[in-house]
Symmetry: C2
Subunit: 624 residues, 2 copies
């Protein structure tokens, strides 16, 4: 009766869930623009346009620079920045997020077989675009099946480790452009060795330009910070219009500092060229002009899975992780809620859609989202403005981009990644939990040594091992009563703990000689899995060979059902309600010949209390 | 005082451990032959020689065949079988284990960039040999640092899934040799498609030979089983010498069936050749004769880490897993104990040493160990006999090996792997724990689709996710007292659970509007990690922004210490001994302006009971 009742309940629940899933509210939550667009106020449009343009002025130089990190021809950075805003506007829940290429995603892309040639300009983007497609597909699937929780297993310590390593790898990989030398970037240590070899070929004008750019960037950043501070301090007080305008200009130049530096150096390079001095700076060179064609990713490329490798799993996860962290952060600040599964679908759609416009994997950018927020964005509509600006630039400005000196783009990258190095976490970890330093250093150094992709994967593994240590070594109390060993396990028994149980047996029972018996006290074992059951089966067989008697006592219902359904022969023989029952059984048996044993057990005094009295069928029904 | 006492204890313990580690007993356990060699009895030598030769007759055809699975020139299978026995004899603890090439290790080797060409005969073994070197190095390191427990995280369900998939992949990959067609083997589905394309070129004599070989193998296997049964049944009774000899011959032919089939077909092919019919069967062809030269693996090969990839981690683990399972199994049957860390060192040394003799990664073979055991092996000395036989064959018999038909080797492989397909686990899992079917099918189908290496890694991941599900979603009770939400977590709080806590906050507190407060009841939170502490810090900041008051109640010492060392400003403000204290605090505060809050807290009635009264320094000392 009870079983039927609970079954009906489950059915009803499923029905209810299906109804909820197809309800109007659910569909609304899947297309958030349905909610915010009707509430859109006219005066918001000005804020959105300003924010969109400001973000656009940042994404243009960043896009050009990040393509270099991804080891792709320079226009692919802009292709990747074009479509995200449009799609996110339809599906995204956060008004602050701006989707596009980021430094870390670019680095990850460069690690997955994309870099077939040393010179980014001649690299084939086929696999990077395929990566965007699969990344989007997997993210959408994860969103639909509510699998976003997988990223919970990437701890902030691993994130800190790989972010710092990525920043150093990216920054160091750009030094070649500051020095104006040619070399292939790979991992940090590889680059370090290579750079020492070629540093004698340094081009002094490139270096001068690069360093100057960084100085200008630092000054402009200070301008912005000063403006922010002043505006905040003087809030409420009256300010002269002059000062107000000055602060606003400082803010604008500070915020769009990347664009300012790139445009300035581009102008200088152009002026030099007009005057016949073409070889002073190393320039970006020709790029394909125009909006990228709408094209299906090339699925006929050979060995897709081999080339994309673990990137097909890692990149969607890291991308989502970056995006959802930003969305949630700004959500709390702006007092709006973000659903992580909807974010997965949104960012997945941006990747999937983008791949048809030759984009490589993208995600929410922290720096640009902050600019968006500070510029007073009101709705995701700003993303459309940003995207339009990128498309217009692709259509009209590409002839100019060839004059951008490589050193100035490198300066933009280096100056933005140095703030990503999170050295402050080390003393914090030292104080709070030293064990986590193992994870941090493993992730950090292996990321530098083998590349961020491997460092991160191994870091996640180390983190899990630290987390799972206690699970694989459950506490156990053993005590002896005569030649009976009682083993009491102190927590759940899952497959990582099986080995410990076997070792306990070997130590206390198996190789002790003489007549031995063992009682497993399962009081604290709440649940178990198939591997453990199978392992116990083998243990029982081995015990039979060595003439060791085995009993299980205090087995909880959940575990008992699983044991009863296993292939343990004469299953009932081994089950006792209490340790005392089992002990009594064993002491009785010592006097009885083996043939009679089973009979004695069946008629034993503890019999009526035992689990084996519960008919198997009934036990099964209760669970279903 | 207590702290000093426990410190001294630790020091003493370390000292004790160091002494134990350097003791004579320890060194003896590291070279087990020191123990068994002095006890060696003269008449054991006969048993050992018989067992060694019987195993040798199996390893010769297997070695030749497995090289094909590993996509290497045929002699490398024998190179891999040569040295293992010698080294294991010095370091191994199990008399039954025979180290050498196995089907699964060969398949894994083929998956890691070894297969540069389609035809095994022209493949470059450089990376396979490097893999053996690194595999050995990592296994020895794991053994020294007692890291064997890592394999506990590979459950028997994953092992079953990947073994079955490997068997099918290997078997199917050999069908081309049965049909006498040429194609490159990769994953199962790739091979399936390719085979359909080329099946029209089938060479009927090859097919006839392959099928005949399988029939002969099946008959010989039945002979062995019949002999085993008869010998067991008639044990103790008197048998005619004639019958005894007959049974013994049946047993020998059955056990050495692979060698019988290969020698027979080799003879037929040679006879045909002598009569001028060279094209009837596809033959193995020329192989390099002689013992492999002693040579350091080629560390100058390009992109070693990129090519070896995750194999560098997976192959040592799988190899060890195979080996230790066999050693423990036979150990229990033979009543001797096996130390898994010593086994790691032993099998690691076999790989490391083998790599200098052009071996690819090897491990203990189940089928050959079983033959070893059944042949009545007495000590690891038998491994030396086996190794010597292999070396002699390499020196003298290689001119003959070129006549071995490919179809007969393929038959040997197919007939040995079909028994590895573990279909029986499916109904067992269905009965015992359906959730584990997800792991099984993921591992199995992804192994077929993407290759065993990826399938296994993803399978391990899925298994961990199922195991960690409860950790990432700790149960939580929430109840409301006025506008105060009390959240009681029901188990330890580790980084995978952080997201759940944030979601609980969002759901119950953050976006509810009005004045809200939240109390975290940490009664059941036994421990935590840095990521959680950092996450709580961020939550506190967000709460401040949204004017949500937060308190922690019933915080245990271990967690309290970590919180106290974090960067939470005014840490003491948030800590209360009981939920009631915190509730009182909040109801008091409602009437007091914010500036006074801290003062009120400091002088509150529950103050004397609070943790913050314990001086921080003291708390620290107690832990160390």
């Amino acid at each position: 009766m009870e079983s039927k009742f609970s079954k009906k309940n489950t059915q009803e629940k499923v029905k209810e869930k299906v109804i909820t899933y197809c309800s109007k509210e659910q569909w609304k939550s899947r297309f958030p623009f349905v909610t915010w667009l009707p509430k859109y106020q006219k005066d918001w449009i000005i804020s959105d346009v300003i924010a969109g343009l400001t973000v656009g002025l940042t994404v243009l130089p960043q896009g050009l620079a990040y393509a270099n990190i991804a080891k792709l021809p320079i226009q692919y950075g802009l292709y990747s920045a074009a479509l995200g805003g449009f799609i996110y506007c339809l599906l995204g829940m956060s008004r602050d997020i701006t989707i596009g290429p980021t430094a870390i995603m670019s680095l990850l892309v460069s690690g997955y077989g994309v870099a077939l040639a040393d010179d980014p300009e001649t690299n084939d983007p086929t696999y990077a675009i395929l990566l965007a497609f699969f990344c989007g597909f997997i993210q959408i699937m994860m969103g639909i099946f509510h699998l976003g929780f997988v990223t919970n297993f990437i701890s902030s310590v691993v994130i800190s480790g790989f972010t710092s390593a990525a920043a150093i790898t990216i920054g160091f990989g750009q030094l070649k452009n500051i020095f104006g030398v040619k070399m292939a970037s790979e991992s940090f240590f590889h680059d370090f060795k290579e750079l020492i070899k070629v540093i004698k070929y340094t081009r002094k004008w490139d270096t001068l330009l690069g360093v100057s750019c960084m100085v200008v960037l630092a000054i402009l950043r200070c301008c912005k910070q000063y403006s922010d501070r002043q505006t905040k301090n003087l809030q409420g007080t009256t300010m002269s219009t002059q000062k107000k305008v000055l602060l606003k200009i400082m803010w604008l130049f500070g915020t769009a500092r990347n664009a300012v530096v790139v445009m300035l150096t581009c102008g200088i390079a152009y002026a030099l060229k007009v005057n016949g001095m073409t070889t002073v700076f190393t320039l970006t060179g020709n790029m394909t002009a125009g909006i990228p064609p709408l094209r299906v990713p090339d699925f006929r490329a050979p060995n897709i899975l081999e080339v994309l490798n673990s990137g097909i799993i890692l990149i969607p996860l890291i991308g989502f992780l970056e995006n959802v962290a930003i969305a949630k952060g700004f959500g709390r600040k702006g007092n709006y809620k973000v659903d992580s599964n909807q974010e997965l679908i949104a960012v997945g759609a941006c990747n999937l859609g983008g791949s048809f416009l030759s984009s490589y994997p993208i995600t929410g950018s922290f720096s640009r989202s902050a600019i968006n927020c500070q510029s007073g964005v009101r709705s995701p509509l700003a993303g459309i403005i940003t995207g339009s600006l990128v498309l217009i630039s692709l259509a009209c400005l590409t002839p100019l981009f060839q004059y951008i000196p490589k050193a100035s783009l490198a300066a933009v990258i280096i100056y933005s990644v140095i703030f990503m190095v999170d050295y402050k976490i080390v003393p914090n970890l030292w104080r709070v939990r030293k064990m986590d330093l193992v994870t941090l250093f493993t992730t950090f150094f292996l990321s530098l040594l083998l590349g961020v992709e491997y460092g991160t994967l191994i870091g996640i593994g180390v983190d899990l091992l630290i987390l799972l240590g206690p699970i694989s070594r459950p506490g156990a109390k053993t005590h002896k009563v005569g030649n009976v060993t009682v083993i009491q396990l102190e927590r759940g028994l899952n497959y990582p703990a099986l080995n410990k149980v076997e070792n306990l047996l070997d130590e206390h029972v198996m190789f002790m000689g003489g007549v031995n018996s063992v009682i497993f006290d399962f009081t604290h074992v709440a649940d178990t899995d198939y591997s453990v059951i199978e392992g116990l089966q083998n243990v029982l067989n081995d015990c039979k060979l060595l003439n060791v008697q085995v009993a299980f006592a205090c087995v909880r219902q959940k575990v008992n059902i699983k044991l009863s359904r296993s292939n343990i022969p004469n299953y009932e023989k081994f089950m006792f309600k209490t340790v005392e029952d089992a002990l009594n059984e064993f002491s009785d048996n010592d006097l009885v010949p083996e043939e009679d044993e089973e009979e004695t057990v069946m008629g034993g005094d503890g019999d009526s209390d035992r689990y084996n009295k519960v008919p198997e069928k009934m036990v099964v029904e209760i669970e279903t």
